[in-house]
């Protein structure tokens, strides 16, 4: 019944190993919760924490850097989430970092992830508050999805209507799908189109040939126009002459203009004739007098014909005229 030395040693060993195992276990659990590391505290305000719990991990760019240390309701729409962050990571978090709440896998724990900001803000310090961004929750996604699916259902029913009417041969598309005559016509049209295009091609070819021949052949007018440089020069001189002639015509016209102006304004003979109304009146009366004179002369001549002295002469004239008419 006595304790041997080896028994004591073995007991001591067992006790030490057991205690060590327990202590290391506790240590590792504590380490996960950052109990033995120097930490600093930062806060973020959320409207909805989506089931985040005290002790959930905090991630910065995907690395676990701390744990959520407290969730506190500030008012009816604001929740303050405070977190303990490892102190050695402090130099990497800037003040414009953004905190979001996400899920670690489909059925996993919630995590608070801090996303680095874009700017180069100063480094965060103990007790600071960073911006937060609330992600869309699963409920919101589901409600959006339900709206989309309703829309999809309406769309599908419409599509169904369209396809059935198409199959039944209604509408242009249905005709296209079902009408064999139409198909034949279409084919014929296509064939015609082909022919036309072929014709167009040949026409264009001919045109091409014509143009090239025009370019090459210098006998024709166009060829000369296009190619003969001497004729071109001549044409140029002609056009130049035409230009000078037109200039001269212009000066002549200007002179004529001046003459007419002169006529209108000055007291020359022509102008006197044209413009003096008294003269015109006297001329008129003169002409009237002449008319009256000739009338009276005519009466005098008739009287002469019937006079016995000259009657014979007039009869003789009449007879002569009749004889000539008989011949």
């Amino acid at each position: 019944m006595k304790n041997t030395k080896s028994q004591k040693i073995r007991l001591g060993l067992f006790v030490i190993v057991g205690t060590m195992l327990f202590v290391t276990g506790v240590y590792f659990i504590g380490q996960r919760q950052n109990m033995f590391k120097k930490t600093f505290k930062i806060n973020a305000y959320f409207q909805n924490v989506n089931g985040l719990q005290k002790g959930n991990n905090v991630r910065y760019s995907g690395i676990n850097i701390g744990t959520v240390s407290g969730i506190e309701m500030i008012n009816d729409s604001t929740i303050k989430v405070s977190m303990n962050i490892e102190e050695k990571i402090i130099t990497h978090i800037k003040k414009d970092a953004i905190a979001t709440i996400g899920s670690d896998g489909l059925v996993g724990n919630m995590i608070l992830s801090i996303v680095p900001g874009k700017g180069s803000a100063p480094v965060i310090s103990n007790g600071d508050t960073i911006e937060s961004y609330s992600k869309i929750g699963a409920d919101d996604i589901l409600s959006t999805l339900s709206v989309s699916s309703e829309n999809a259902a309406i769309l599908m029913s419409d599509l169904l209507k369209i396809t059935t009417s198409m199959i039944e041969g209604k509408g242009t598309l249905g005709l296209l799908l079902n009408d064999t005559l139409m198909a034949k016509d279409m084919r014929q049209s296509v064939v015609n189109l082909k022919k036309i295009s072929r014709g167009v091609i040949t026409t264009i070819d001919e045109l091409n040939e014509m143009i090239t021949s025009l370019k090459k052949n210098q006998e024709t007018v166009l060829g000369v126009l296009l190619n003969d440089s001497i004729s071109g020069k001549k044409m140029k001189t002609i056009i130049g002459n035409l230009e000078t002639s037109s200039e001269e015509i212009e000066t002549i016209m200007a002179n004529i203009d001046a003459v007419i102006d002169d006529i209108n304004s000055s007291n020359g003979t022509f102008n006197y004739i044209v413009k003096d109304t008294a003269l015109v009146n006297s001329l008129k009366s003169t002409l009237h007098n002449i008319n009256e004179g000739t009338d009276k002369f005519n009466q005098n001549m008739e009287a002469l014909k019937h006079n016995f002295l000259t009657r014979r002469y007039f009869r003789k004239l009449e007879r002569k005229e009749r004889k000539e008419a008989k011949k």
């Binding site: 004591k8 073995r10 067992f14 006790v15 195992l21 659990i29 996960r32 059925v107």
Partner: protein, 260 residues
């Protein structure tokens, strides 16, 4: 009336037993802080109960870890959640299976041992002889044994947990190519103080229950060889039952404290 008459003595017996056990426990707490302390006997009992149970606890733990993993794996695979294996096995072993299996194994090995040992001492009137010779048999026999198993069981539980987790790791390593580091990290990521502290506190109570019931059954053993066997037997049965009751209470209390 007949039924009540038949049941009543049993209820009386049960209540008497509970009352006697309470007195016995009270006496233990009175005696444990009184001089002289039987250090040598305590160490001997610690060695007996601690070191000599190591192999048993180790093998049971290893097999439990192995089997738990093997059994759960196909189901988790169906859900595509094999990566949750270490967390699941770790939590279930540390929280419940480790302490419970270790305590039950120790109840079988140590509880029955104490019951038989003290019973036979009572039968052969060694305890009476001690009382006559002036040695306090309660202090020498009961206090040392109860204290020893109360101190040793938590350590055995820790070792058992470690071995069980290693067994689980082996299966994961062989079947799923999981590295030790990954397994280790995943287990400790999922564990919290709320898992390990209540489990450890619980195992102190388990140890105390094993020791006190074994000693009680042996100390008040009936005369005769039959009494020894009965003492050993009832020690194991009563202890096992008590362990589950304590477990339930412990989980209940831990639930309040840690809001699991």
């Amino acid at each position: 009336m007949f039924g009540i008459n038949k049941i009543k003595p049993r209820i009386d017996d049960f209540l008497v037993e509970i009352g006697a056990l309470s007195y016995f426990s009270g006496r233990f707490f009175r005696e444990v802080f009184k001089r002289p302390f039987e250090f040598k006997e305590l160490l001997r009992q610690c060695f007996n109960m601690g070191n000599r149970s190591l192999l048993l606890v180790g093998i049971t733990g290893f097999i439990i870890g192995l089997v738990l993993t093997l059994q759960t794996r196909p189901t988790l695979q169906e859900f595509g959640a094999v990566s949750w294996m270490p967390s699941m096995v770790g939590i279930s072993i540390v929280r419940e299976i480790g302490p419970m299996i270790t305590a039950l194994v120790c109840a079988g090995r140590i509880g029955s041992g104490i019951g038989a040992e003290l019973g036979s001492m009572r039968v052969t009137e060694q305890i009476d002889a001690m009382e006559v010779s002036g040695t306090n048999p309660f202090k020498y026999l009961v206090v040392t044994r109860v204290l020893a198993i109360t101190l040793m069981l938590p350590l055995l539980v820790v070792v058992g947990d470690a071995v069980a987790l290693y067994g689980s790791y082996l299966v994961e390593h062989l079947k799923g190519d999981v590295s030790f580091n990954l397994y280790f990290n995943q287990v400790f990521d999922s564990l919290e103080f709320g898992d390990i502290i209540p489990a450890t506190v619980k195992s102190f109570f388990f140890g105390f229950a094993i020791g006190i019931v074994g000693c009680f059954k042996g100390y008040y053993c009936n005369k005769g060889t039959e009494g020894v066997g009965k003492a050993a037997n009832s020690a194991v049965v009563f202890t096992s039952l008590l362990l589950f009751v304590i477990d339930f209470i412990a989980v209940f209390v831990a639930d309040i404290f840690y809001e699991l």
